[in-house]
């Protein structure tokens, strides 16, 4: 079995699951309880926060635990909108954001906010100039992802930050769900970024856990109100087992990150080198510094993406159409659409996404399977 769908989700690491189980058994207290059982869980919670903060190079007070990437995106966007509505109701994002961002924007539009969806060029990049042109006096938020989940395009975060230097009151949110552990430390530490959202299950932590970095002194509203957990910013009894498990998973994924990234890049390069020998192939994720090392999106025009996915499935190789979130609905990729890729090519797109568990041997096996599939369909369609 070859699992090449790591941008959809990753397998929980054994040692991470071990932490989850042990914390559930031995640290089951509510961190808000005054007694020792609760305080013990609180210690673990705060040490987890400290560890996450240190790994991200920020202060512990700037880390908030959430239920995952979708909540993080929703929270920062709507929380900023609620806080800053009196100062302006204009938001800027891009056409290639994750649905968690896009649909938060759609909801805000119904509430009277105005949203500018920046276009991307043919390669899949937002231009800082178009951002600069879109900024208005009533702009309150800019939300641009770090690494696109469908084709792996790394957005020009530093250049966007430079544009925003002149607009200090605008909140700058970066959806970093696909960027963690993939060699983007410098990008994520860009000082102008005010908010980052992360999801645990993309780096071998369990589902249902994630975190948000919120720069100190940047004010936004909570989405979940209640018992006042997370400094009154995200109520709900803390998911201590998942939080500790995620802190551990983060440490593991960032240990020897360079080596792991190099390995994923080597796999991607081997696959690319082979795909590029084929006629009629369209590659959306070239080997370039502004493309992520772990995502490879391509089309065999004429063959529907789902068909390719199932053909690989028969060989026990698991890939996806462009993104798991939209793959079942059968709609063509919003990123490729934004890139003005013709429909028949966009519908044929599939995505291979790697992580540190994958090997070059798997790449060779994939190549063999690919050739069989490619030759089979070439007879029928090309």
């Amino acid at each position: 079995m070859i699992y090449f769908d790591n941008s959809a989700t990753t397998k929980v690491a054994d040692s991470v699951l071990d932490t989850y189980v042990k914390v559930s058994q031995n640290f089951f207290g509510n961190p808000s309880s005054l007694h020792a059982v609760g305080q013990k869980a609180d210690d673990l919670l705060e040490q987890s926060r400290q560890q996450v903060a240190e790994l991200m190079g920020v202060n512990a007070s700037e880390i908030y635990f959430t239920s995952g990437g979708t909540e993080g995106d929703n929270w920062v966007i709507k929380g900023t909108a609620m806080e800053k509505a009196p100062f302006g109701k204009h938001i800027i994002t891009s056409q290639i954001e994750h649905p968690a961002v896009i649909n938060s924007m759609k909801q805000l539009e119904k509430l009277g906010f105005e949203v500018t969806y920046l276009p991307v060029n043919k390669a899949g990049f937002v231009s800082p100039e178009s951002l600069a042109a879109a900024i208005r006096p009533d702009t309150i938020l800019v939300s641009i992802m770090a690494v696109n989940n469908e084709i792996g395009a790394v957005q020009p975060i530093h250049e966007i930050a430079k544009v925003l230097e002149k607009h200090q009151t605008i909140h700058f949110h970066v959806d970093a769900v696909q960027a963690i552990g993939k060699g983007f430390d410098a990008l994520l530490r860009e000082p102008r970024i005010d908010f980052l959202s992360f999801s645990g299950h993309k780096f071998h932590a369990p589902r249902g856990i994630g975190f948000v970095y919120a720069k100190s002194k940047r004010v936004f509203q909570p989405l979940l109100t209640g018992g006042g957990q997370e400094k009154d910013m995200r109520s709900g009894t803390e998911n201590t087992p998942a939080i500790a498990a995620m802190a551990k998973a983060l440490r593991i994924v960032l240990t020897d990150e360079d080596k792991k990234v190099a390995q994923q890049l080597a796999i991607k390069r081997r696959l690319l080198a082979h795909l590029q020998t084929k006629e009629n192939m369209v590659i959306f994720s070239p080997d370039a510094p502004n493309f992520a090392p772990h995502i490879l999106c391509f089309s065999i025009p004429g063959v529907r993406g789902e068909t390719i996915v199932h053909a690989f499935e028969q060989k026990q190789i698991y890939i996806s159409t462009t993104s798991a979130c939209s793959s079942k609905k059968g709609v063509e990729s919003s990123t490729l659409k934004a890139m003005a890729i013709p429909n028949h090519i966009a519908e044929s797109a599939v995505r291979v996404s790697l992580d540190d568990q994958n090997t070059l041997a798997e790449a060779d096996e994939f190549i063999q399977a690919f050739d069989e599939i490619y030759n089979h369909f070439a007879k029928l369609y090309v």
Partner: protein, 409 residues
């Protein structure tokens, strides 16, 4: 710049006549303790200065540690160069000037002292040779004898040249321990750790006395007091922490004393107990963090009614400071953020809504007679918990086993 030693100059203790030897010995001991983590260094105490040879340890880290040792007036990071290597002396002198005078138009001066009179060049020769060399390399600078921007000090000793240009103010004060020993009443608020710091600054070795009233106060309040002690220990070395069980006494007072006098009587118990502990521990005085007029127990009338229980000197270092001045010191010694963490302490829990700001001494004594003072205090004294707190010790948030947590994470 690779500094080879730090030269510390003694402050006030230079003026202390025949006690000087004891003072230097104590300072030497305190510096040794403060620099214990730096295993490679060697300390050479001399009559009016101390040479701390770094042997490769980081000058910056050693200087940070020295900043907390009282009795040092100033210190300078120094580079030692072999007597035979005058070319290297020139190079280092130039490097120092470059570092300290980066801009054109700034002024410098070479100041040579020579204790090795066998060295072929005399003071003037050396001043001229180095001055010329630097002027050639940096024609944009000017030489100035009076108040130059940069003064490079060159000392020629038998074992080589010693070059320095930086002089940093030390922690001042007197070496801790030279003024004797006292106990300090540590509540957990902002003021008492500052009082501790100021006591230490005048050379007083202190032991902490803390009143603990479970279940009225949480264990976190006790841990906070200990963690504050750990902060103060940065200036003191390891500090003895004496925990006094106070619940029973407070309950007894609450039951038998009229509300307006609860606080005054309670404070008298605290002071009497502290005085007994002081006698037991061979202390000479009691320090606390009272500031005149700050709260009901700190009016002059209250102080008089409370102070009535002892003739031991009670020293209140922050007595006449404004809250803002106290906070400024608390921030400097890094106790402020800890002090403002909200845990009930033994002073607030039994505070009546309207305590007497001007308690009457006679009435206070009268109400106290309803209590069996001796029996209550003997019991408390028999149940003291004494521990030692080191700098950097953590107490708050240590409910879970650290090893267990680190394995999980």
């Amino acid at each position: 710049m690779e500094y080879t030693e730090i030269m510390a100059r003694y402050g006030e203790l230079s003026t202390k006549g025949k006690n000087r030897k004891d003072f230097i010995g104590r300072l030497n001991g305190n510096i040794t303790k403060a620099l214990r983590p730096f295993t490679a260094i060697r300390i050479h105490p001399k009559r009016d200065r101390m040479h701390i040879v770094l042997n490769g340890e980081s000058a910056k880290d050693v200087m940070t540690a020295l900043d907390r040792v009282f009795g040092i007036q100033t210190y300078s990071p120094v580079i030692r160069i072999e007597a035979t290597d005058f070319e290297q002396v020139k190079a280092v002198a130039l490097e120092m000037v470059n570092e300290a005078a980066p801009k054109a138009g700034m002024s410098f001066k070479i100041n040579t002292r020579r204790s090795n009179h066998e060295y072929p060049l005399d003071t003037n020769d050396i001043n001229l040779a180095l001055g010329d060399f630097i002027s050639d390399a940096r024609p944009d600078l000017v030489v100035k004898m009076k108040q130059p921007d940069v003064k490079v000090r060159v000392e020629v000793r038998h074992d080589g040249f010693y070059l320095s240009y930086l002089t940093v103010q030390g922690a001042l004060g007197l070496p801790v321990g030279t003024a004797g020993k006292a106990v300090l009443m540590l509540s957990g608020g902002i003021d008492s750790p500052v009082a501790a710091y100021l006591a230490l600054k005048r050379g007083v070795a202190i032991e902490m006395v803390h009143f603990y009233s479970p279940p009225y106060t949480t264990e976190n309040a006790l841990k906070k007091a200990k963690e504050l002690t750990a902060k103060v220990a940065a200036y003191a070395g390891p500090v003895t922490f004496i925990q006094v069980p106070f619940t029973e006494i407070q309950e007894e007072i609450k039951e038998k004393v009229p509300e307006g006098y609860l606080m005054t009587v309670q404070r008298r118990f605290m002071l009497r107990l502290t005085d007994k502990i002081r006698a037991q521990r061979d202390g000479l005085a009691i320090f606390n963090g009272e500031s005149v007029g700050q709260v009901a127990s700190q009016t002059l009338s209250s102080m008089a009614a409370i102070n009535d229980v002892t003739t031991t000197p009670i020293i209140r270092p922050v007595a006449t400071l404004d809250k803002n001045e106290i906070i400024a010191i608390a921030r400097k010694i890094d106790t402020f953020d800890l002090s403002v963490q909200p845990f009930e302490d033994c002073c607030t829990i039994f505070a009546p809504p309207q305590p007497k700001t001007h308690p009457n001494l006679e009435k206070t004594r009268h109400y106290e007679q309803a209590l069996d003072v001796d029996a209550l205090e003997d019991k408390a004294m028999a149940n003291l918990t004494i521990s030692t707190v080191q700098v950097g010790d953590k107490f708050l948030g240590q409910n879970a086993d650290a090893a267990e947590i680190s394995q999980l994470l």
